[in-house]
C-alpha cells in the first residue's frame, strides 16, 4: 500500500567561521576613466554565484550599471585574500568587503566632484546610473566617466581597499556557553512523501522551503541555492552513505554512492523570506548550507506521519523502513 505523509523541520544556523576564529575578507575597487570599475576579490565562485552577487554589490555602491563592472576573483596572482568559500560566508563577509572598498573609491570621486559641482559637503552628492548628481538638485550632474578622468589627471587615484571581519566570540571552553556566531540564518521546510509499505521505498512528492536570507541580492541565485541544497538533503535522507572500513571508503563510485537524479528530486518551491540584516551588505545574510539542513528531518517526519515509524539512522533505506514496519507490527500484535 502507498501511504502519504507530511513532515516539517526548522533550523537556525550560525554563518561564518564562528567561535572567535579570524573571519576576514578583503577587496580592492578601482574606478576608471571610462566610468567602469574593476573589483578584485579572493572569493572563489564554485557556482553559487558570488561573482555575480559581488559585482551587483559593487555596481549598487558605485551607482554604475553592472555591465561596467569587471570582477576578477580567486586569482592568487592579483586578488586579495577573501577566506574560503565555506561557512555560508561569501555574500556576507566578502560582500561587506567589496561594499566598503567601493565606498572608499566612491568617496575619493565625490570629494573631487564636490569641488567641480560647487557643493560644500559630499553628503549632498550621490551617484546613480553612472552620473554624480546633487541630491537636492538632481539636474546638476556630471558623468562618472568625465569626473573620473579629470580626477585622475589631477593626480587623484580612485582606488578603495577594505577588509571586513565577521564578528564572532569564542565560547566558554568549560561550559560551551556563549554566542559563537553572527548572523544566524533561519529556515523551515515542509516535505510530502509517499511510502510504499510493500517495498519500503520512499518517494518525495514535494518540498516547500522557506528561508530567511536577509535581503536576497539575486533572487534566481538564492532559489538555485535552495533547490540544490534540498536535492542534497534528499540524498542525505534517503540514499547517501559513505561506507568506511578501516578508514577506506568502500563505495567510491556513483553506482554505489547514490546521489539524487532528476527523477529523485521533487519540485521544490522556494519561499524567500526577506528580512533586513543591519550588518549585512544591503541587508543580506547567507543561504548556502542552511538550504540542505531542514530537508532530512522534514522527510523523516513525513515518513513518520505516513507510516508511523521513526527512522533514527541514516539513510532511510527501504530495508530500514521495512524492518521498522515489521517491528511495529510485532509490537502491536
Amino acid at each position: 500500500m502507498k501511504k502519504r505523509g507530511i513532515g516539517m523541520a526548522s533550523i537556525f544556523y550560525g554563518t561564518g567561521y564562528g567561535n572567535g576564529f579570524p573571519d576576514v575578507s578583503s577587496a580592492v575597487v578601482e574606478i576608471h576613466d571610462d566610468g567602469s570599475a574593476t573589483v578584485l576579490t579572493g572569493a572563489a565562485d564554485c557556482g553559487q554565484g558570488s561573482n555575480t552577487v559581488l559585482a551587483q554589490i559593487a555596481a549598487e555602491e558605485l551607482g554604475i550599471p553592472i555591465e561596467k563592472i569587471t570582477l576578477i576573483s580567486a586569482d592568487t596572482d592579483c586578488t586579495p585574500d577573501a577566506g574560503t568559500t565555506a561557512a555560508t560566508r561569501q555574500t556576507y563577509t566578502s560582500g561587506n568587503a567589496v561594499k566598503l572598498a567601493a565606498a572608499k573609491a566612491k568617496k575619493i570621486l565625490l570629494d573631487f566632484a564636490a569641488g567641480v559641482l560647487a557643493v560644500n559637503t559630499i553628503d549632498g552628492l550621490d551617484i546613480k546610473d553612472g552620473y554624480v548628481y546633487v541630491k537636492t538638485f538632481p539636474q546638476k550632474r556630471i558623468s562618472v566617466a568625465e569626473l573620473a578622468s579629470h580626477a585622475r589627471f589631477k593626480g587623484n587615484r580612485l582606488i578603495g581597499e577594505a577588509s571586513f571581519t565577521t564578528h564572532s566570540t569564542m565560547v566558554d571552553p568549560e561550559t560551551g556557553q556563549g554566542a559563537p556566531y553572527y548572523p544566524y540564518a533561519f529556515a523551515t521546510q515542509i516535505a510530502e512523501v509517499e511510502v510504499d509499505t510493500e517495498t519500503g521505498k520512499v518517494e518525495v512528492i514535494r518540498i516547500v522551503a522557506a528561508h530567511d536570507v536577509g535581503r536576497a541580492i539575486n533572487k534566481i541565485a538564492v532559489e538555485g541555492q535552495i533547490q540544490g541544497g534540498v536535492a542534497q538533503g534528499v540524498g542525505w535522507a534517503l540514499t547517501e552513505e559513505v561506507e568506511l572500513k578501516n578508514g577506506q571508503i568502500q563505495n567510491p563510485s556513483f553506482t554505489e554512492y547514490l546521489i539524487p537524479t532528476a527523477l529523485d528530486v521533487p519540485e521544490v518551491t522556494p519561499v524567500i523570506v526577506e528580512t533586513y540584516e543591519e550588518t549585512g551588505p544591503y541587508g543580506a545574510k547567507g543561504v548556502g548550507e542552511p538550504a540542505m539542513l531542514p530537508t532530512m528531518p522534514a522527510i523523516l517526519n513525513a515518513i513518520y506521519n505516513a507510516v508511523g515509524v521513526r527512522i533514527t539512522e541514516l539513510p532511510a533505506t527501504p530495508e530500514k523502513i521495512l524492518k521498522a514496519l515489521k517491528e511495529k507490527e510485532q509490537k502491536n500484535a
Partner: protein, 157 residues
C-alpha cells in the same frame, strides 16, 4: 602502442588522425582535438558529464572507444551555438539560472538538444527522464527542467 587512422565528422568538420587504438572517444575529443567542453566526471558511464551526440543520439563518450566512432558523426558542446550566438537551449539555461558550477552543463545541454529534436514539446516528466542519466550536484535539477521547457517554447516560436 598500436596506431590506426581514425576519420570521423566532429561538429560538421571531417577529421582524420592517426591515433592509438585503445583510447576512448572522450580522450580523442579532449586530448587530441582539445574540445575540452566535454567533461570527465566518473569515467564509468554513471554521470553523463561526458555526453556527446553520436549520429544524433546522446552517448557517454567515456564508454565509447574512439575508433568505434570511425565514419560517424559526433557533435560536442562546441558544435552547439557560438559564444556570440548562443543556441536557444543555451540562452534558456542562462535565463532560467540553470547553471551553477557548470560541470554538468555541456552534457545537460546535449541531452536536452537530443530530446527536443525528437520531442519538441516535452512534458516536465519527459524532460526529467531525458536528463536522468546526467547527474547534477548543484542545482537540484528544477531550474534545468525549467530551462528545457523554456527552450522548447523558444524553439517553437
Amino acid at each position: 602502442m598500436e596506431m590506426k587512422k581514425l576519420s570521423l565528422t566532429v561538429n560538421g568538420k571531417l577529421i582524420e588522425r592517426e591515433v592509438p587504438t585503445n583510447i576512448r572517444l572522450l580522450d580523442f575529443l579532449r586530448d587530441y582535438l582539445h574540445l575540452t567542453g566535454t567533461k570527465e566526471g566518473c569515467g564509468e558511464g554513471e554521470c553523463g558529464a561526458c555526453t556527446v551526440l553520436l549520429d544524433g543520439k546522446p552517448v557517454n563518450s567515456c564508454l565509447v572507444m574512439a575508433h568505434s566512432a570511425h565514419g560517424r558523426e559526433v557533435i560536442t558542446i562546441e558544435g552547439i551555438g557560438t559564444p556570440d550566438k548562443l543556441h536557444p537551449i543555451q540562452e534558456a539555461f542562462l535565463e532560467a539560472g540553470a547553471v551553477q558550477c557548470g560541470y554538468c552543463t555541456p552534457g545537460m545541454v546535449l541531452a536536452a538538444y537530443a530530446l527536443l529534436k525528437e520531442n519538441p514539446n516535452p512534458t516536465r516528466e519527459e524532460i526529467k527522464v531525458a536528463i536522468s542519466g546526467n547527474l547534477c550536484r548543484c542545482t537540484g535539477y528544477n531550474k534545468i527542467v525549467d530551462a528545457v521547457e523554456l527552450a522548447a517554447r523558444k524553439e517553437g516560436k
